[in-house]
C-alpha cells in the first residue's frame, strides 16, 4: 500500500514544483533555500530586527533595480546607474553644504537646494543616455558605459576623491535615519516609488509602450508609437530613480562620495534578471524585480552574519547572476514545451 503511495506523492510534488517554477521562476526557491541555510548558520537571521534591517538596507538597491528594469524592458540596459548615484551624491552634497553655509538659518532651503541640484545632475546623465540611445542609435551598452566613465570622472574631479562634508544634520536625520509612522523613511519612500512604478507599468500608456518597444520596436513604430520619445523617457526615468537612491544613500552616509554605487550596475541587473526580466526586452514584472533586489540584500546580510568575507560575497553574487540566467533559459524551454 505505502509502496504505491510514495511514488505518487513524489510525482505530485514534482509536478507542483515544476508548475510553480514555470509560473514564478527560480526566485521563490532561492529565497526559501537562502532562508533555510542562513537560519541554520545564524540564529539571528530570522529575527524581526534583522529582517527589518535587511529591508532597510535593500531599499537603495530596490530603487535602482526598478529603474534598471525600465531600461531592460525596452531592450537595453543602463550601466551608468552607479555613476548617476555618485554624481548625484557629490553634487547634491556640495550644493547642500554651500547653501547651508550661505544661509545658515534656512535648513529646509539648503536641503531643497541640495536635493534639486543632485536630481538635476543625475537626470542630466540620464537625458544624455536617452538622447544617445534614441536619437543617435548608439548601442545602450556603449552609451551607458561611456557615460559611466564620464560621470565617474566628473564626480572624482569635483571632489578630488575626498568625501563632501558640511550638510545640515537634519538631512541625515530625516532621510537617512528618520522614521515615519514607525517605519524608516527610506522604506516609506521606496514603497511609494514602488506603487508609482506599478501604476506606471500596468496602468499607463508609457508603461505599456516600454513593454511594446522591448517586445518589437518595429511593430511598435508601425503601431504609431513614438519609439524615440519613449526610449528617451525610459533612460530618463531610470536615472531619476538612481538619483533618488543616490540622495538617500548620501543622507545615510552623511557625506557625499564619489565612490558609492560602483557595484550597483551589476547588482541591479542581477536583481532584475533573477526577478525574471528578459535581457531581450519586453518581459518583466515590477513585483518580482523588487523581490529580486530584496533577495540580494538578504543574501548579503546572511553572508555577513555567517562571516563570509566581503570579497567572496561578490563572487557569490556573480555566480548567482549566471545561475539565474541559466535557469531562466530552462524556464523558457519548459514554457514553450507546456504550450504545445
Amino acid at each position: 500500500m505505502s509502496e504505491t503511495i510514495v511514488p505518487k506523492i513524489n510525482k505530485f510534488i514534482m509536478t507542483l514544483l515544476r508548475r510553480s517554477f514555470i509560473r514564478m521562476g527560480v526566485l521563490p526557491f532561492l529565497i526559501i533555500l537562502a532562508a533555510i541555510i542562513f537560519t541554520s548558520l545564524s540564529s539571528n537571521f530570522l529575527s524581526v530586527r534583522n529582517i527589518l534591517n535587511v529591508t532597510r538596507q535593500s531599499t537603495y538597491l530596490i530603487i535602482v533595480s526598478m529603474g534598471q528594469m525600465l531600461a531592460l524592458l525596452t531592450g537595453g540596459f543602463d550601466l551608468s546607474v552607479g555613476t548617476i548615484i555618485a554624481v548625484s551624491s557629490v553634487v547634491g552634497a556640495m550644493a547642500m553644504a554651500a547653501a547651508s553655509s550661505m544661509f545658515p538659518g534656512a535648513v529646509v532651503l539648503a536641503i531643497v537646494i541640495g536635493l534639486l541640484a543632485g536630481l538635476l545632475a543625475g537626470l542630466t546623465i540620464g537625458a544624455i543616455n536617452g538622447i544617445g540611445v534614441s536619437v543617435f542609435n548608439v548601442n545602450p551598452f556603449m552609451m551607458t558605459l561611456g557615460m559611466a566613465s564620464v560621470g565617474f570622472g566628473i564626480a572624482l574631479y569635483l571632489t578630488g576623491g575626498i568625501p563632501v562634508y558640511g550638510m545640515p544634520e537634519q538631512f541625515s536625520n530625516i532621510f537617512g535615519f528618520g522614521m515615519f509612522l514607525g517605519v524608516p523613511t527610506p522604506v516609506c519612500i521606496t514603497a511609494l516609488l514602488a506603487v508609482i512604478m506599478f501604476i506606471l507599468l500596468n496602468r499607463t500608456r508609457i508603461g505599456r509602450y516600454f513593454y511594446a518597444i522591448g517586445g518589437n520596436i518595429k511593430a511598435s513604430s508601425l503601431s504609431g508609437i513614438n519609439t524615440r520619445w519613449n526610449l528617451f523617457l525610459a533612460y530618463l526615468f531610470c536615472s531619476g530613480l538612481a538619483t533618488i537612491s543616490g540622495l538617500l544613500l548620501t543622507a545615510r552616509l552623511e557625506t557625499g562620495e564619489a565612490n558609492i554605487g560602483a557595484s550597483m550596475p551589476l547588482e541591479s541587473i542581477a536583481a532584475c534578471v533573477i526577478g525574471g526580466v528578459s535581457l531581450r526586452g519586453g518581459v518583466g514584472r515590477i513585483d518580482n524585480v523588487i523581490l529580486g533586489a530584496f533577495f540580494i540584500g538578504l543574501l548579503q546580510n546572511g553572508m555577513n552574519l555567517a562571516k563570509i568575507e566581503s570579497y567572496l560575497q561578490t563572487v557569490v553574487i556573480g555566480l548567482l547572476l549566471i545561475f539565474a540566467v541559466i535557469t531562466d533559459q530552462l524556464r523558457q524551454y519548459l514554457i514553450a514545451k507546456s504550450q504545445d
Binding site: T204, R205, A212, N216, A219, L222, S223, G224
Partner: protein
Amino acid sequence: MQERRDQTQQKQLLLKLEGICKQFPGVLALDNVDFDLREGEVHVLFGENGAGKSTLINIVAGSLRPTSGKLIYRDKETHFSSVHSARKIGISAVFQEFSLIPQLTVTQNLFLGVEKTRRGLLDQKTMNLQAKEILNKLGFQLHPAAKIMSLTRAEQQMVEIAKAFSSELSILILDEPTASLTERETERLFELINQAKSRGVGVIYITHRMGEINRISDRITVLRDGRYVTTLDTGTISDVDLVELMTGRVIDHIFPKIRYNPGETLLRVENLVTEDRSVRDASIEVKKGEIVGMAGLVGSGKSEIMRACFGIEGIRRGDIYFEGQRINKITPASMMKHGVFYVPPDRRIEGLLMMRAVRENISLSALDISRLSIGSFFLRTQKEKEMVQELATQMQLSPPKVERMVGHFSGGNQQKVMLAKVLTRETKLFIFDEPTVGVDVGTRAAIYEFIRDLCEAGAAIVLVSSDLPEILHLTNRAYVFYRGKIQAELQGDDITEKNVLLNFFEQDAA
C-alpha cells in the same frame, strides 16, 4: 513524350519519402506525404502557399525533422540531424530566405563552413581564385570581394545559387529561384539546371509559374493543405487542370464575390521617389469602396510605395495627398491619425510582440484613443479587456484566450491578431501587405471575407500581394510594378494572369 517517360523511369531512384508527417504547434503542416526523386530529373513541387512545400523541402534539406515517416536516400533509410549532415551527402538548397551573412564577402560566403586552409591558416588566395572560377562558370557577373550587403536582391540570389553549385551535388533544391532574377539570368539558371541534370543530379523545384514548369520539369507532384494529391509527368496535364488539382474544391469558395463601389479619391500619390530609389516616379490613386492591387516581383516597389505613404520608407521627392490635402508630416503615428492603417507582411519582424499577450497586441495601436485612455496618460484597462475580447470573438481566435502569449498561437491565429488590430481605430484606408503569407486555406478564406467586408462598408483598400490569384480575384484595379516603376494599370476584366505577368518583366522581353 513516351520516349522521355521511359528514360526517366529507367533512371535510378535518388530519394524516396514515405508517409512523412510534420506537426507544428497547432498545425499539421504535412499529413502523410509521399515523394520520390530520380537521378537527372527536375521534379516540381506544386501547391498553394501553406500547402506544405516549404516544410517538405526543409525536411529534405535537413533543417526540419519529420514527426513521423521514412526518408530513404539511395536505398538506405536516413535521418538528417542538421543541414550540415544533409550537405555532406550532397543535398544543397536555395531557399527564398537567404542564408548569406551580409557582412561577409561573396567569397567568404561561398566557402562558409568549408574554408580552404593552408598550414592551419585560411588560404585566401585559393578561395578567391576558386570563387572567381565558380562565378565565371555560372556566368554570374559578380565581384568575389564584394560584401553581400552591397548587392541587390537578385545578385544575392545569384550568390545563393552559386553556393549551392559550388559543392559536390546529388540533390539540388530550388525554392522559387527566379523570383527576383531577370529574364537573362533566368535563362542562365535553366542552362545550369540542365547541365546538372545531365550529370545525374536530381532537382526539386518549387515555382508558381506555369511557363517554368512546362519548360524545365520532368514530373510534378501536387500538394494541397499538407496532403499529397498526385504525381504526374509534365505535359500530360493542361495548366487549367493543374491549377484545379492545386486548389481542389476550395477554388469556388476561397475568393468571395465583392461589390465594389468606387467613390471619391482618398489617397493620391504623385511622382513619388523613395530615398533608396526602390520606387521611382510612381503615381497612384486609391478611392473609397475599392480594392486596389499592387502586383510585381519582390523588390519591384509594390510594397515600398505603400510603406513610403505610411512613413516607413524615406521619401526623396513626390507628393502625397489624403482626402484632397497635401500631407507634409508622414510618420506612422500621423498617418494613423489621418485614418490610414498598414498591416505589415511579416508578423515576426514588424507585426507582433511575440512574447506579449494577445490583448496588449490588439490594443497597442489604439491606446491613444479616448475609448481606451483617461487623459493622455492612464489606461482604461477594463474597457481594453472588453474591446479585445469582443474582437477576438469576432475574428474567431482559437483558442479564445486573450491573455495568452501571441507566440504560442498558430500562424493563422497570429495573422488574425494582426488583422484585429486594424479594427481598433477608425480607419479609412487599409493597406494589407501580403496578408496571407504562411496561413492555411481556411484562414485565407476568412481573411478575404474580412477584406471584402471592409470594402463593402466603404473603406479604401490597398492589397499588396505576390500571390497572383489574390490580385486577379480580389481587386477591381491593379498597378503592376517593375523595378520601382509602374508598368501598367489594369482595370476590371483586364486584370488577367496574362496581362499581369506580362508586365512583371521588362517590356522588351515580353
